[in-house]
């Protein structure tokens, strides 16, 4: 059987340790994986560890890779796993019952802040301070919601690939994505609402 070609990558070449092909794969995905690590862990050292470990593990396991998912999905799966494991290692004291409520039990959180900040010009929405707040906002998301948001909304993976990468159902992907979006929306509405309170219609819910 000739080498399978996966999105332009030759599995045979990768399996045989072809450096050109490995380098091509690394170049194709290192930006996204580094960014995933940064957004999940919040610091460059951890992001670099995740980047290296992802490709190292990929190379270690490429011979057993059957191609049931695409190589990119597989890389994201390894990276997501590395990120989640590292987070867990750093804060083992997390209260599991709190986290369970975030993952699909009961109804999604009701939007509270109904300020319409969409009309604000982009240069105001993206000041340096606002950007810091965007980072803080996503860092505060429970990690299992954060990873779904990163894969779906930032990396643009399909629902199917996201489910595959995280080993969860497509329904779980949709539920967690909704929760992530609601949390992030709420955090930004609070921030922009406080910053620009005099300038927008205020529809604060009671």
């Amino acid at each position: 059987m000739n080498g399978l070609v996966d999105h332009g990558f030759s599995l045979n070449a990768l399996r045989s340790g072809d450096k050109q092909e490995i380098a091509r794969l690394v170049d194709a995905y290192s930006n996204q994986i580094y960014r995933l690590g940064l957004k999940m862990l919040g610091n460059p050292q951890d992001a670099e560890d995740i980047l290296q470990n992802t490709f190292l593990k990929m190379l270690q396991n490429i011979k057993g890779f059957e191609g049931r998912s695409s190589i990119s999905t597989w890389l994201y799966r390894i990276a997501a796993n590395e990120a989640l494991m590292l987070i867990r290692k750093k804060k083992p004291e997390v209260d599991l019952t709190d986290q369970l409520n975030e993952y699909g039990d009961g109804n999604p959180p009701e939007p509270e802040n109904l300020i319409d900040w969409c009309c604000l010009p982009e240069q105001e929405l993206l000041t340096a301070e606002a950007r810091d707040h965007l980072d803080l906002n996503i860092a505060n998301l429970p990690e299992k919601l954060r990873i779904v948001f990163i894969l779906r909304d930032i990396d643009g993976l399909s629902i199917e690939s996201t489910a595959d990468a995280l080993n969860i159902s497509e329904t779980a992907v949709k539920t967690r994505l909704l929760r992530a979006r609601l949390h992030l929306r709420e955090g930004l509405s609070k921030y922009y609402g406080e910053r620009f309170s005099g300038r927008m219609d205020n529809h604060a819910a009671k």
Binding site: I22, W117, L134
Partner: protein, 87 residues
């Protein structure tokens, strides 16, 4: 509590998210858009949710790639050093 009956707006949150992905079927899409035309609160939720996603996508796209030193160390860890200069 808002004046209108919003008892079922909470149920529409999932649909709003699917709607933003362009994955809502025609019938539900029309139904939701009709609701959004009549319900300011829900419209604000959808609009701010859409904008939230947009801001995160935009700032992510603007971040530079892997820093040079990180890339060098990555290549070294994968025994690809000799290829590094081809960039």
């Amino acid at each position: 509590m808002p004046q209108n009956d919003h008892s079922h707006c909470q149920d529409l949150l999932g649909e709003m998210s699917t709607y933003l992905d362009g994955n809502l079927n025609r019938e539900l899409c029309d139904k939701l858009e009709k609701h959004l035309a009549e319900c300011k609160d829900c419209r604000i939720v959808v609009d701010t949710m859409r904008k939230t996603i947009f801001l995160y996508k935009k700032t992510a796209a603007e971040t530079g790639g892997v820093p040079d030193m990180v890339r060098e160390r990555l290549y070294r860890s994968l025994n690809l050093d000799d290829l590094h200069t081809r960039m």
